[in-house]
């Protein structure tokens, strides 16, 4: 009996939808447009987010351990008299070495931790690269190349040469692709480097790498630790940074805090280091959802209007249906079905439009320039967003349709019938 009533409601709803095809299509297009834009926007935005996150994450450590010489230093007076009111005028910064103390022991202890994937000690120096007439500003990173590979997947980033070539060549360097291109230097060439302190050395390019990030590829070279120590004219224990990768990146904050306490030095997690980047992600997400919601709300108002108009035009029909034994709920279901059909068909068409747009965007050539190596827009095709899209679409139309439908259910047939 009940299912029979529903079947009849569906049939009546169908006739209503088909008898005013223009109205129905316009209502659907509103939803289609909203969902289509949502899918395309969310695909592009999350695609960009994922892409930048990936390259940022692969090139930056989960935890960066270093000696923070810029941290404000307590005066002797404050140390001696912590409770008192102390005033020290013109305190000069102390000349402090960025050198990490007891690095070998530290690295050993860090590597023992179960949560740690790898810990790579490094040091770096500002240098000028000279090759023929060209002189370029850049830096040189002293690394244990195999550990560095474990952390950042260097092997996959090699364009020419092997990472092992660095182990056999004591004066070898692996150079960023952008830097090599600007120098017009190739694998096997020798380049001269000069430090700001005036130290000069000739090094041989044994390999070329490309991370895909301009700020790295255009300035950086990798060398052996001992080589960079020589360049800086420091002894063999001189290490300024330890980069740590964890098995689970999301533990970074806790582990960083532990390390900082244990070794009495600064340990910064990636979230803190990349705060601006993460804020960017959040802002992009907010924009995406705000725009999509706005579009959907506009579509919702469209449906609300059209359904209200339909109900207004069908007052007499509603009255007669009620006289013939349709209860308020039956009338409500007739109009709810209409808005749900508009919502479902509209959203589904929206998914198709959104997918098509996404494909087109992902095929659009895009020049990332020097900053990032990118040929097309990265677009996310995660099915989750398609499910969210259809749920949004149907929910919006259900809400927009509910109010007019309830009004229709409450129409008093006597008032309509007497009105004539």
């Amino acid at each position: 009996m009940k299912s029979n009533g529903l079947k009849l409601s569906i049939e009546i709803a169908r006739v209503h939808l088909f008898s005013k095809p223009k109205q129905t299509i316009i209502a659907m297009l509103g939803v289609t447009f909203g969902i289509g834009m949502f899918i395309a926007l969310v695909g592009l935005m999350t695609g960009l987010n994922n892409f930048t996150e990936e390259i940022t994450m692969t090139s930056s450590p989960d935890i960066h351990v270093y000696n923070d010489v810029t941290e404000p230093r307590k005066s002797i007076l404050e140390k001696e008299n912590p409770e008192g009111f102390n005033l020290v005028h013109h305190q000069k910064p102390k000349i402090e070495s960025p050198k990490l103390r007891n690095v070998n022991k530290m690295v050993e202890l860090i590597r023992e931790d179960e949560r740690v994937l790898g810990a790579a000690p490094t040091l770096s120096s500002q240098v000028f690269y000279n090759y023929g007439p060209v002189q370029l500003n850049g830096n040189i990173l002293g690394v244990e190349i195999l550990e560095e590979n474990k952390l950042f997947g260097l092997r996959a980033k090699m364009k020419e040469g092997q990472i092992e070539d660095l182990l056999t060549n004591h004066d070898g360097i692996i150079m960023g692709k952008g830097l090599a291109k600007k120098l017009n230097a190739k694998k096997g060439d020798r380049v001269v480097i000069t430090t700001p302190q005036g130290y000069t050395m000739t090094l041989k390019i044994v390999g070329i790498f490309q991370m895909g990030i301009g700020v790295v590829d255009n300035v950086r070279s990798y060398a052996n630790i001992s080589r960079v120590q020589t360049i800086l004219q420091q002894d063999q224990s001189y290490i300024t940074d330890v980069n740590v990768k964890l098995k689970n990146r999301h533990l970074s904050k806790t582990v960083a805090a532990e390390l900082q306490g244990k070794f009495e030095t600064r340990a910064e997690d990636w979230e803190t280091a990349n705060a601006t980047f993460l804020t960017g992600v959040i802002i992009r997400n907010i924009i995406t959802y705000a725009v999509s919601f706005t579009l959907l709300i506009v579509a919702g108002f469209g449906i609300y209007n059209i359904l209200n108009m339909t109900i207004y035009n069908k007052m007499k029909d509603i009255a007669i249906l009620k006289a013939m034994g349709f209860a308020g709920g039956d009338v409500k279901s007739i109009f709810m079905i209409q808005s749900l059909v508009i919502g479902l068909v509209g959203s589904f068409a929206g998914l198709i439009i959104g997918y098509t747009l996404s494909v087109l965007i992902s095929k659009t050539p895009f020049n990332g320039g020097d900053i990032i190596s990118l040929e097309h827009f990265p677009v996310n095709f995660d099915p989750r967003y398609y499910i969210i899209g259809i749920v949004f679409g149907v929910a919006t139309t259900a809400i927009a349709g509910y109010m007019p439908s309830r009004k229709a259910a409450k129409i008093d047939p006597i008032e309509i019938l007497r009105g004539q």
Binding site: M1, N4, L8, I320, A323, G325, D330
Partner: protein, 228 residues
């Protein structure tokens, strides 16, 4: 005689724009197969009484019973299926659903009831259309029919669930004399050969005179025709 409809002291007030008693102690009993005309001056409360009798208006005092079921105090959700099964309606304006075909219009109350199969419903609808002489129009959109034809379709629709009672508010009020005569003849035939009970509000004196029983109202009261 079997009573199809009984009211007991039905009283109704309107409160807008001011309190005023529109129905005063209406007690009426209608026999099965009776063709009853309800007459009276304009504004005396005929339509108001019809809405109470039809169960669409539940805001009254007194009692109402149709086909042995006491309906006073029931909620609209219960009354809707009751109307569907026991009451047929014919109005002055034909009130067909304009987007549907004639056949669909006639079938809808039966489909709503959901007691017999669709095929049987269709067969029954054709049968009713035939009684009314409009079976050729079955597949036309109802809005394409003439006024007289539409009223006949509305009567076929009122008949589809074999109701205990058909209620009409000025069924010929919008028809010319020829079509009025046709509708009257159909009613006459229905009551005399099919034992159908009909209550019709009318301003048509001839229509009233020819029916089985005339109940006259004045100022919210029945002043004539309680017993024939």
């Amino acid at each position: 005689m079997e009573k199809v409809l009984i009211t007991n002291n039905v009283t109704k007030y309107f409160y807008e724009p001011e309190k005023f008693q529109v129905l005063k102690d209406i007690s009426l009993a209608v026999n099965r197969g009776e063709f009853l005309s309800l007459v009276g001056k304009s504004g005396c409360g005929k339509s108001t009484l019809m809405y109470v009798l039809s169960t669409m208006d539940t805001d009254y005092e007194g009692e109402l019973e149709i086909a042995g079921v006491r309906l006073t105090g029931k909620a609209q959700n219960e009354l809707a299926p009751f109307r569907n099964m026991h009451i047929g309606f014919v109005f002055q304006f034909h009130y067909l659903l304009p987007e549907f075909t004639v056949l669909q219009n006639v079938m809808i109350p039966a489909l709503k009831r959901g007691q017999v199969s669709r095929a049987e419903t269709e067969e029954r609808a054709y049968e009713k259309l035939k009684i009314l002489g409009v079976e050729e129009q079955a597949l036309k959109r109802s809005s394409k029919l003439s006024g007289g034809q539409q009223q006949r379709v509305a009567i076929a629709r009122a008949l589809i669930n074999n109701p205990d009672i058909i209620m009409c508010d000025e069924p010929t009020g919008n028809l010319d004399s020829y079509n009025s005569q046709v509708v009257f003849d159909i009613f006459h035939q229905l009551t005399h050969t099919h034992k159908q009970t009909i209550i019709a509000v009318t301003h048509d004196e001839e229509f009233a005179r020819k029916s089985d029983r005339v109940v006259e109202m004045s100022d919210g009261k029945i002043i004539n025709g309680l017993h024939k």
